[in-house]
Amino acid sequence: MDDLMREFLTESAENLAMLDQTIVDLEQRPSPEALASIFRTMHTIKGTCGFLGLPRLEGVAHAAEDVLGRLRENQLPVTASVITAILRAVDRIKVILAGLESTETEPEGEDGDVTRPLQAFAASEAEARATAAAGKAAPARPVAEASAAPPPAAAVAAARRDVGAAPAAAPAEAGDPVTSAVANQTLRVSVDILDQLMNMVGELVLTRNQLLQLTKADEDSHYGEPVQQLNRVTSGLQEAVMKTRMQPIGNAWAKLPRLVRDLCQASGKQIELVMHGAETELDRQILQSIQDPLVHMVRNSADHGIEPPDVRRGAGKPPSGTITLNAYHEGGHIIIEIADDGAGINVARVRQRAIERGLVSAEAAAALPENRVLEFIFAPGFSTAAEITAVSGRGVGMDVVKTNIERIGGVVDVGSRAGRGTTIRVKIPLTLAIISALIVGNRDQAFAIPQIGIVELVRVAEENRQLIEEVHGSPVLRLRDHLLPLVRLDAVLGLPRSSESRDLIIVVAQVGEARFGLVVDEVFDTQEIVVKPIGRLVKDINLYAGTTILGDGRVIMILDAAAISSKAHAIAASTRESAGAPGAASGAGPATTGTDERMSLLLFRSGAEAVQAVPLSLVTRLEEIPVSKIEVAAGRYLVQYRGALLPLVPAGDGLSLAAVDPRPVIVFANGERAMGLVVDQILDIVESTVRIEAAGGRPGILGAAIVNGAATEVIDTYYYLQQAGDWVGRDGEDGAPQRLLLLEPSNFYRDLLAPKLRAAGYEVVAEATPEAALARFERGQKFDAVLADFDEGGARAMNLAITIREQFGIADAALLALARKVTPEDQRCALAAGFAACVPKADRDAVVAGIQSVLHFQEAGR
């Protein structure tokens, strides 16, 4: 039974139970209130039936409603016969509901016996007027007789008493229709009571924690056993009470498909609504507060965001647009993203409107960066819609959205890219909840960090301090081939610096797609804590998610990892994570333009060149090498480095080696091979959007990023690695390099993967479309392996796999599928289609490893 039906049954059973009493009251003491209440109930049932497609029920409710309407208008007197007819309708409704509950379909039957008398009452207009004029004394005789006719009464009575010979009108023999099984499974409880329960459970949890601590301290305690039992019961109770307040966010989304469908019908657009994380649970109070904002935002996306099909086609996009809703937990918050792949917000237009409306002066507006300009859409009454549609564009909406969300302590952000779409991110704190938290210490003070945002803990022993390196003053830790930016808790909190002569503990936290390490002095334990709101005097500090009381009665602050990370400006989303993230670069743009990706960049300056950047994720290490250590051999620079020779390549021309001493060197490594890029100065780490240039850009340049308002070139480390590699020589490989065909529609991934594969020693041909790839085979070109994109429709990739295999004689084993995010389903499909494996394309090392094993396997097979 679907939820809607279940809810309808529950609600109707409740309403009908009350109805009996009200109708009886009405008969005894006619009152407009009672009539209005009965009318409303009947009206609700009728309306819902129409929606759920229950014609029989609707018919009965409709007939009863008509009569009730006339009673309400005083066009019909309240008489016993009228009341009887209505009660009979109520009984019939119960019978049908009981049938619905047991069989999930409306029972067969005919309700003329119930509806005819009602219709007669409703239709007897002249009669009614006359009787109304004559007062209550004279009941409408003929009608009354009709309604009192024995057959219908018998039918209903038979059904109610569950007599064997139930007439066709009521085949739902199963039990007494008055008591509904579904209705008995749920109970409506006022939210106040739930809140009280929650508060009391919160106090109970704290008391339990205190008791646990006391008994733990006293090993001989007689209370150990019962306290343990109390502990278990409390945990169970807490969980159960929490559950009573939690609802999946899908409940708030249930209306949206219909909304989008109606908008499509009205506007002629094609929109697909995709929902992820519908099962994410949140407190019902919060759920209710975000329901309206959600509707506003989805409506906005559908109405303003998604373009009509012809416009989309013209822009090289599929005619059908997509609105994606995504909900997930993040570090003690719930994030809800509403993303569309529409036209994006016209920043110039917002800027202009903001000036027109006097929100900002023209000069100030010109200087504002795009993201600040976008914030104007939250101004009251702000709209850029050229024409106001029935749906939206009246400039109410986003300000209401923002107000509603901020009222519950949430934050709304908007991001938009022209032609690519808009993403609105709503972040709601979990202030009502009991959460699991890690208790950490810095100096003499303890803090709690919500477990949900913690990835792992890393201990760096005192003697391994050198593992922590610095990039222009920002500490980083090399953690499994990635640089983890570090934030010292004492620094963020403005506390005196902790002593250096001890082990460091790093709490690795996940914030969005980025990770960072929070350096703390000590980690105590994990505890269930009750999140208490933070006092208003310290609310603005924006580092804390709340406060809590520990088992020993101490108050401690709950740290907000996301706020700390943004405060420390330490979000170092490595290219790998941002590229692999859902929602990043969904769908490849037209082949002629580039692709945008957000990544963390290391900025440096060399020679006469302007500031350049390199993706931080590719940097292995930063060194300062005294010029005296640098050797020259065969016109190349070399340095003795960790027991091997490290080739040095100057970044840019005209770099005078001796000008800076010691010389900053950025070290890149690829497997066994490493090289150092010699620069003048290392400047900073920033996060920026990088525009990856289409193939044919300058060699060694991956793309450009706007950093501090200036275009900055992002260098391609693999180009330099290759330069160094050419000289170092290939790693013991002899013979012709193996040839790979890379089929990848996204420029970004092509440019990301091709150099890496070349650097790994393969000859790589990259193509964007299967047609172009097949054309190469047709021209007789030979390839040892094919790497094919699996995202752009698995079917296409499968067809290609089959064609290649059958027509051009490439073994199954030499086909590798590439996906942005590899799900088990992808794996299964890829293997079924004949691919040897499916690997995440953002993970370059995985791709190289994948192709190596594929080729190895193939060789072994020969």
Partner: protein
């Protein structure tokens, strides 16, 4: 006038900070506590001493000396807590010592002297002329408005 007179008469709880006698109507005060364990809140304004746990409820402790521009206490003794509620939130004023409940009347009330420093004037309702000394009536909500 009589209304104001009534508001300015009644029982005041008196406490001392940096030698000055201060007071607020006794019905506003929930309770007085001895020294409590207070959790400092890094990055908080200097007037916020931290949080304390009062039977499971979180109380924001306000350092009255800091709030009134007085130097930190140097007699090595611990501060007492005067706990009061404002807008559904509990606050504690950290004071040097708590005195008697004093019956005051509007007859001995005066508006704050105009020469009072701006910070004091912002939180001072007025002054009562007691027999031996002056009692400054503080405006509790104003005290909680930090700048």
């Amino acid at each position: 006038m009589s209304e104001a007179k009534e508001a300015r008469s009644g029982e005041f709880i008196s406490f001392r900070v940096g030698g000055q006698l201060l007071g607020m109507p006794v019905q506003m005060v929930q309770e007085v506590l001895t020294a409590q364990r207070i959790t400092r809140v890094p990055m908080a304004p200097p007037e916020v001493a931290g949080f304390l746990n009062l039977r499971g409820q979180i109380v924001t402790a306000v350092d009255l000396r800091a709030r009134l521009d007085l130097p930190p206490r140097d007699d090595g003794r611990e501060s007492l807590n005067v706990v009061a509620r404002d807008q559904e939130e509990l606050f504690s004023l950290l004071v040097d010592e708590v005195g008697d409940v004093i019956e005051v009347s509007a007859d001995i009330f005066e508006l704050p002297p105009p020469t009072l420093s701006e910070r004091w004037r912002g939180v001072c309702e007025g002054v009562y002329r007691l027999k031996d000394e002056l009692l400054v009536s503080i405006n509790f909500p104003a005290l909680l408005t930090l700048h």
